[in-house]
């Protein structure tokens, strides 16, 4: 919570907990909506794909933020649940005999998204069950095991073999349709992702500020104390895993529309760690932080790619022996991401959202700004 500017007072709790508390915040939000709406007119499709990648990372890391940031259950295997969501959608689209009227009416994809969410949630609860007994490092081990069991074994060896198409599934384009809107261009994928992210973030925000969220935060801060105060910790932990898995399933189902195919290499362990890195860079226990972290990570990757790819001609011309750098861009990305996590944790342990909070308070309290260190 940040300080409010002078002149705003609230008389009851409900007012204090409102989404948009001041006129300035309302204006800011409307400006943001307008900006998001006209973004496709401002940039070309390369940057639109960056934008919906950011949105995909936000959706996927949402569950990680819930588990780590709000419920204190550290998970390093979230890509498994995203994979379950993605493959559920793909398999349902390909193997269920949908009537032609449903395909034309655009009902197939929404149904698939919801089923993907529920299946991923159930899968997530299954691997969350050990959290009733273990925590800390041991829970990390079980979530890692979720990754190793789900992606390389169950999905690659069994699920991906259904239908005998090999590991990668391609999705017929006409299936990806919501109501009358067929999602086939970068602009439409972008709008779809923005709407999905908005819905999920609002749902998450509402959960966090209700009884549910308070119980999760109590468990995160001290689970034994929470239990003595009457919070059913096993129930709430499993609920956290359920909701996180649901978001992951939605993320997986969404990414189908962007790629038109699925393959196990989109769900490697690297991505589980990437999403944890995103919330650490953005700020643990903050929904804004999740957004900042996703933007930061995706932009750093993209800029690194542009820098190396753009300079490759120059590089080849003047230093031909350095040409190998362009072929190894992915390893430069990995090393840069690793260093980014380390330096954020050492020098900026509260993440980007803390800096944003400071900035906001500086202007809210101006000219008598004092916002801590």
């Amino acid at each position: 919570m940040s300080y409010l500017p002078c002149g705003y007072y609230f008389e009851d709790y409900a007012d204090d907990q409102k989404w948009w508390r001041t006129r300035f915040i309302k204006g800011k939000m409307i400006l943001m909506v307008v900006l998001l709406a006209i973004l496709p007119l401002l940039v070309d499709s390369q940057w639109l794909s960056v934008a919906y990648t950011i949105n995909y990372y936000i959706l996927a890391a949402l569950g990680v933020q819930l588990l780590i940031g709000y419920c204190g259950q550290i998970t390093l295997g979230h890509a498994a649940f995203v994979a379950v969501g993605g493959y559920t959608t793909a398999l349902m689209m390909l193997n269920v005999p949908w009537p032609q009227s449903m395909i034309d009416g655009g009902l197939v994809y929404p149904i698939c998204i919801i089923c993907a969410g529920f299946l991923a949630a159930i899968w997530s609860v299954l691997f969350g069950l050990p959290s009733a007994r273990v925590k800390g490092f041991y829970l990390i081990m079980t979530t890692m095991a979720a990754q190793w069991i789900t992606v390389p074994l169950v999905i690659t060896q069994y699920v991906a073999q259904i239908g005998g198409r090999g590991q990668a599934f391609s999705i017929p384009t006409e299936m990806i349709k919501i109501g009358p809107f067929s999602i086939d261009s970068d602009t439409k994928i972008y709008y779809f992702s923005v709407i999905l992210v908005a819905v999920c973030l609002v749902a998450m925000g509402n959960m966090v500020r209700s009884k549910l969220g308070r119980a999760w935060i109590a468990i995160r801060d001290n689970d034994i104390a929470a239990e003595t105060m009457g919070v059913n910790i096993v129930g709430y932990k499993l609920l956290a895993f359920f909701v996180a898995g649901f978001f992951a399933g939605i993320a997986g189902a969404f990414y189908i529309s962007a790629l038109f195919f699925v393959s196990p290499e989109h769900y490697e362990w690297f991505f589980s760690l990437l999403w944890v890195g995103i919330i650490l860079i953005g700020g643990v226990g903050s929904i804004q932080g999740l957004v900042f972290g996703s933007i930061f990570v995706v932009m750093v990757f993209k800029l690194l790619e542009i820098a190396v790819m753009g300079s490759s001609d120059l590089l080849m011309a003047s230093y031909p022996q350095l040409g190998w750098m362009t072929t190894k861009i992915i390893f430069f990305k990995e090393a840069a991401f690793g260093l980014a996590i380390i330096f954020f944790l050492i020098y900026e342990p509260n993440g980007l959202s803390y800096r944003y909070w400071q900035l906001k308070n500086y202007f809210n309290l101006w000219p008598f700004s004092y916002t801590g260190k």
Binding site: V134, G136, Y138, G277, E334, F337, G338, I342, L345
Partner: protein
Amino acid sequence: MDLFLQLFITGIMLGSIFALVALGWVLIYKCSGVLNLAMGELTMIGGYVCLGLYQRFVTTMPIEYAFLLALIGTIFVGLFLGLLTERIFLRKMIGEPILAVIMVTVGLSFFFKGMVFIIWDTDTQVFLPRVFPIEPAVIAGVAIGQVYIWSFVAALILMVIFVSFFKYTRWGLSMQACADDEMAALSLGVSAKFVYALAWAIAFMAAGVGGTLLGNINGLNYSVSLLGLLVLPVVVFGGLNSIPGAIVGGITIGILQNLSGGYLDRFFPGGIKEIAPFVFMVIFLLFKPYGLWGWERIERV
């Protein structure tokens, strides 16, 4: 029965390498409380460094000397890298929450992996000319690859050296003191920073030798780092802060991995060898969360 014996004995020998790497992990955890997820990458770095040195040396001297020198060189590089890593990245994280420390080691693993592949490329590389002869030795009717036997011997020697270092030398005693009670050790004049640095250096050395041996068995590529990751089921099985647990756990996981590779591959199409230890770990965690000899932590509000 022959197949079983062969798998069993190879499993013990493979497991001794895991035990060596797990020993390094446990030392770090005991002394500084850092849960290190970068162990796989440390293993890989060791393997590649040794390969690089071996390829240099082998042109000028006989194979045995070249390999031995390369191994010693790897140990020294590991010592140096361990001290450096601890000084630059880990020392600032003392006393931070568990997730932050774990993610620093994850960041380290990304950094190391990226660096290794930038320098050495991703193709599988093998020790050529072969260090150990390819024809298997036959012991009591069971054929075992010579590379396994030599790996077993090397891992055993190093484990004895590290354990006796930890038990009997002055530096080892200060490490034990720090592991037992850090406050008390500090007040008696033990330098915690030195102990942490030593623990990381030992982990790097052990992992380096482990990586070299694994590289001799299967060739060096990304999968070596996955084998290094197997250290996690090992330490969970043995208990996080138990050195005998690490050794017993390493050998158990090695046997388990080999047997599941030999017998279950028929029923599960591929990959079960890598997954079996993790499945075993999850089931084991449900029944005995603190491992065989780990300390049980009692929490109070």
